[in-house]
Symmetry: C2
Subunit: 338 residues, 2 copies
Amino acid sequence: MLTIRDIAKKAEVSVATISRFLHPETKHFVHPETREQIEKIIHKYHYIPNQAAQALSKQTTNNIGMVTAFSTDVVKSPYYEGLIAGIIEGIRPFTHDLKWIMIKDEEIQNCNPKELLQKHAVDGVVFLTWRLYPKLIHEIEHHSNLPVVLINDYESTIRSSIVYCDGGNGVQEVCKHFVQKGYKTIGMLRGPEYISLDAQKRFKAFKRAARTLGFRVDPKFLFECQRFDETDGYQAMKTWIENQKLPRAIFCANDDIARGAMHALQEKNISIPDQIAVAGFDDSIRSESLNPSLTSVRQPLEAMGRAAVQALINMITKKAKSPIQIRFEPELIVRQST
Amino acid sequence: MLTIRDIAKKAEVSVATISRFLHPETKHFVHPETREQIEKIIHKYHYIPNQAAQALSKQTTNNIGMVTAFSTDVVKSPYYEGLIAGIIEGIRPFTHDLKWIMIKDEEIQNCNPKELLQKHAVDGVVFLTWRLYPKLIHEIEHHSNLPVVLINDYESTIRSSIVYCDGGNGVQEVCKHFVQKGYKTIGMLRGPEYISLDAQKRFKAFKRAARTLGFRVDPKFLFECQRFDETDGYQAMKTWIENQKLPRAIFCANDDIARGAMHALQEKNISIPDQIAVAGFDDSIRSESLNPSLTSVRQPLEAMGRAAVQALINMITKKAKSPIQIRFEPELIVRQST
DNA sequence: ATTCTTAATGTAACCGGTTACATTTTGGAG
DNA sequence: CTCCAAAATGTAACCGGTTACATTAAGAAT
């Protein structure tokens, strides 16, 4: 493996000159002739600077971290799918490498940000939280100066940037749509609120919508799923069907729950949307291809992922002096299911 | 930031002793009392060794790379979804970090393995190829000694380990199933064969199945989709419907294509499976929740991802002396669509 | 008490870059 | 021709670990 000293010798200049050549952005001048000479040698020997050495001396890693829980569920969720796709897209123009940092459950509790992040060698991180990490974020903000971007988690932070989508508006839109269609009884399959801020917010927004639009929230048409997934939606709806208490329309905290609910309804040949209308949240790619296709609220996940990376790199390169908040608006996509 | 020298001073020992303490696996003895003392100091000051410095002096990065094309489509495909989930799971027991290395299209052509991989600082890589990278692999194998594991790509390699699933068997099973059901005319929506080895293999296996099972491959019931996605399946099937040439059963090169095809059929109220049976390939999580649920061939993607990481780390730690090939068998999942 | 072996620790070179500071070169201006 | 500022380059210390080699301490054998 060739080192910078080898190259310096071959090019008949000093190591400093090579280093300067490698970093034109520092504005240290290298004579055009010398430059050409170095260029030739580097190209001839396929010289590539050693990452570790650069990291050590520059005190910077050129890596950014994408933090998720250590669970295979993550990749399987349309929500993360969208965000990750955006992050991939967003990192494209930069030279940074992407490290996927997965936090194990046991680490969430007694977390030390140094142990957690410093050892992973990153210049900054994007948190794709869906568990609540408030303690960890707090620790990072107070005991380190690591640039952090949070996605859809805009509470109690001081120096982290935040990219979020105001889902509340989306919920409002769904309910307005239901009311306009003349559906009187509207139920909700809620998400796991002890775990997810989003789940909490969606339910709050639902109650708010009831107030502003003037429909009643009947407790017998409410159910809190333990997970954001299909099985839970299926089970919940099955129970309702058996107990013969069905609303005219149902808003599900996400598409997976909605899909499960539809499944249960179709098993009993209950027609969607003629007997009951169903709407989801997230507009995962699959919503469109369901039969009937699913009305849903779209968060611009890819755009959000892109924005997060952009914001993070601005923080790392000090282009941004202070943390920012970027807000995205959701969009109601009306399809056959309502 | 505390360095090993700071800690050495505080613990009143030399840096070497600290380093030995940090690496018990080297079997260099540290006196129990000293050990205790060091332990206390490290814990008190939350000392964490600097990654870059370790990497530089150990000549090893503690990172493994997951190589994919630089495209957001990757995360959105159930195929990669499964593999990635397996990789995440597989890396769990180890301390290695996971770097997601994305190769841009323009780099695929005139690729230099050093420029591509050395600069990303990894100890080994898993290739989740779906474009053909034969030249790159060849270069890596000949001009570096980087440990490599390939997934579902078992041709022309010399020192890479390979994890693959013999999809051919799965195709055979699908066709056998069709024949047993008494379906005489069997068509296929093929995948993009100029791009994907798998697409090529699935079509070959289809032709082989026709021979061994004794059904005819009618060119008018064949179509090569340009991408492994829903839109292509939809378009292809729509065209067939318009031209009134439909087989009794159709095998699709993957689930996305199948989903698109089903969509087109349902639009025209053609009953599945009564008028036409549809089978897919991959058994993505969504296949089950389609209506009707989709018969499909399951590759044990997660297990494959896990195996790949395991194999790679064995290569890195020299536990494996020579490259290995791990073969998985696909499984036919029969559902409503056939 | 002396010698030998092994355990425990210390010293300093090394990994391969970056960069502060020093030095030499270059091209006007006076 | 001299002087000076700016450009170009060189020297060597430094980043924070690891480890070969040297040294000291401890315990056993003679």
